[in-house]
């Protein structure tokens, strides 16, 4: 205490800080994260939108062309292939919350060793999508893959899912569902853990069991888990890139491309930065609908 009296250092500055401490402290705490986030996230979004109005190869000066990139995009067949593939991803990926819930119901037991079993089921989510893609490329390989070993064993002819335009997207989605189901399973296991046991017991006393018990008593209590599972699954489907890049590079004949990969290919391989930015902007606008939905529900929960 006495040290502060004996050391009269810069009393005025100190008091300025002291007087405004409660305003300045949050500013100080926020600034580093805010600067980093603005520089690498907020500004690049605006910049991408701006680039999308230009013809640009990444090196020579940008030429402003207004909405021409968008006009070209909306008459580009490849855009519609990518968009319809994204819709397939979106719809089929919603099997992940369903599958995750079924798996969680199956595994929600407290026998010895179940903790390890649950961790092993969760395993695919922990490994990189690159590894998942490698594993499934090989699984589908017409010469070496397990898939054809199994098909031949039951007397069916072999297939090459990644070489077939009509099968390829579905084959990649199956690979993506593997880790995604694991993720949803964990969300639901946590949800089931927090189900109110008294409510369940009361319902059982009243003779409610089996599916009606699940549907009327359990599922409503799992709503927070369902909400997060659906949100991460939808975002994951719209963001799909890794598996497409690893398993097919969008092929054969661009039949498995998605918006994320189409954009990457146009910008990196075709040097069409403006066109790539336009694709990214469209994808961004589509995702904004879901992001807005998520934000509104999350902030509404906050306000309660």
């Amino acid at each position: 205490m006495s040290s502060s009296l004996s050391l009269p250092r810069a009393p005025q500055r100190r008091s300025l800080w002291r007087r405004h401490e409660k305003t300045l402290a949050p500013l100080l705490f926020l600034t580093p994260a805010l600067l980093a986030f603005c520089l690498f996230v907020v500004w690049p979004i605006l910049s991408s939108v701006w680039i999308s109005f230009h013809e640009w190869d990444g090196l020579s000066p940008k030429v402003f062309i207004g909405l021409d990139n968008y006009r070209e995009l909306f008459s580009d067949d490849k855009f519609y292939v990518a968009l319809s593939n994204n819709i397939k991803w979106l719809v089929l990926y919603l099997l992940a919350p369903v599958g995750g819930l079924m798996l969680a119901l199956f595994l929600n037991q407290q026998l010895r060793g179940m903790r390890l079993v649950k961790a092993l089921f969760f395993f695919p989510f922990v490994i990189s999508q690159v590894v998942v893609g490698v594993i499934f490329s090989w699984f589908y390989d017409p010469n070496f893959g397990l898939l054809n070993v199994v098909l031949n064993a039951v007397g069916l002819p072999g297939i090459a899912p990644l070489g077939d335009e009509h099968m390829v997207t579905y084959a990649i989605i199956v690979a993506g569902l593997w880790p995604q189901i694991a993720y949803c399973m964990i969300l639901y296991l946590t949800g089931l853990n927090n189900v109110n046991p008294e409510l369940v017991e009361a319902a059982r006393m009243d003779g409610c069991k089996g599916f009606p018990l699940f549907w009327n008593i359990i599922l409503p209590q799992l709503r927070p888990a369902t909400f997060i599972a659906v949100v991460v699954t939808v975002i994951g489907a719209l963001r799909s890139f890794d598996l497409v890049a690893i398993m097919t590079n969008g092929g054969p004949y661009d039949s498995s491309t998605v918006l994320g990969y189409f954009m990457y290919e146009q910008a990196i391989f075709a040097y069409r930065m403006g066109y790539g930015a336009a694709i990214a902007t469209v994808l961004f606008l589509i995702m904004d609908v879901y992001i807005a939905f998520f934000l509104v529900s999350m902030l509404r929960k906050e306000a309660e």
Partner: protein, 283 residues
């Protein structure tokens, strides 16, 4: 508890349940077991088409040392560590401070900033790609681990801030008020009172961010071009092109790439799941 606990239903039911679980687990993990088995096979086995049967000989040491001696896998692994560890520290440090500010101070724009950090998590990477790539080029960080660190720190600070803010928000305000009455400065409130209390959140975030960044593939493709800066995900993909059908090496490489996040997950399982399921329980 739902479904009803199985152990109340007699030994026979428990037994059949256990068998069912083991079969399901076996099917679920077939891809992983196959890749593990292939990583110790000989090339002759693969050429003969013996991919799913028992290996004719076990080449555990040979195949794994081939991965490290004939490819830059060691460099890729080191790069992954050098990128991931600073990112974890950096993004969590930024987020702990920002999360504290958003959780415990009232000021104009608070909710707006919070919303910005949340929304940032969900945007497609492609909308950032071209400007971020140009930015790292002009900062002289393109094709170095620094470019990847800088981007990942900034991007992950969004998710981390969301996480920290919610965690700190749940701490009682009275704690801070009491400290203020005692004359503790705002800075010290953060370092002496908040930080020790958020250790579980820091642990959960570290494990999560480690896994996210380690497994990142998109930015590794976009911001690194040469083996000197490539992390293990992009490295594995470039080796896949080189090895073509040497599946025993591709498999061994995949396992090497997955080993660290998998071991961290098993060691820190509780923290990992606590982090991932944040929000899955509360309405």
């Amino acid at each position: 508890m739902f479904p009803a606990p199985i152990h109340t239903k007699g030994a026979w039911t428990v037994m059949s349940y256990r068998v069912a679980v083991i079969i399901a687990l076996g099917l679920w993990l077939i891809p992983l077991m196959a890749i593990a088995l292939t990583s110790v096979r000989s090339l002759e086995d693969i050429n003969k088409g013996n991919l799913w049967g028992w290996p004719s000989k076990f080449l555990l040491i040979e195949n794994y040392s081939a991965v490290f001696t004939t490819t830059p896998m060691a460099t890729f692994l080191l790069n992954s560590i050098l990128i991931t560890v600073p990112t974890v520290i950096g993004s969590i440090a930024l987020a702990a401070m920002a999360g504290f500010a958003l959780a415990k101070y009232k000021f104009r724009g608070n909710v707006l900033l919070f919303a910005m950090f949340i929304a940032g998590n969900f945007i497609p990477f492609q909308i950032l790609m071209i400007p971020v790539r140009d930015l790292t080029i002009s900062l002289g960080m393109y094709d170095t681990i620094w470019g990847l660190i800088a981007f990942h720190v900034a991007f992950q600070s969004g998710f981390c801030t969301l996480f920290m803010r919610n965690f700190i928000k749940a701490l009682p305000d009275a704690l801070i008020e009491a400290a203020r009455m005692e004359g503790v400065s705002e800075i010290n409130i953060f370092f002496r009172i908040i930080l020790p209390l958020v250790r579980p959140a820091l642990a959960a975030l570290s494990v999560l961010i480690f896994t996210f960044v380690w497994n990142d593939y998109f930015w590794a493709l976009v911001l690194a071009q040469t083996d000197a800066a490539r992390p293990v995900t992009a490295g594995l993909q470039s080796l896949k092109g080189m090895w073509v059908s040497s599946w025993q090496l591709i498999s061994a490489g995949s396992i090497v790439a997955a080993l660290l996040p998998v071991s961290i997950f098993f060691l820190m399982q509780r923290h990992f799941i606590a982090g991932l399921t944040l929000g899955a329980t509360k309405e």
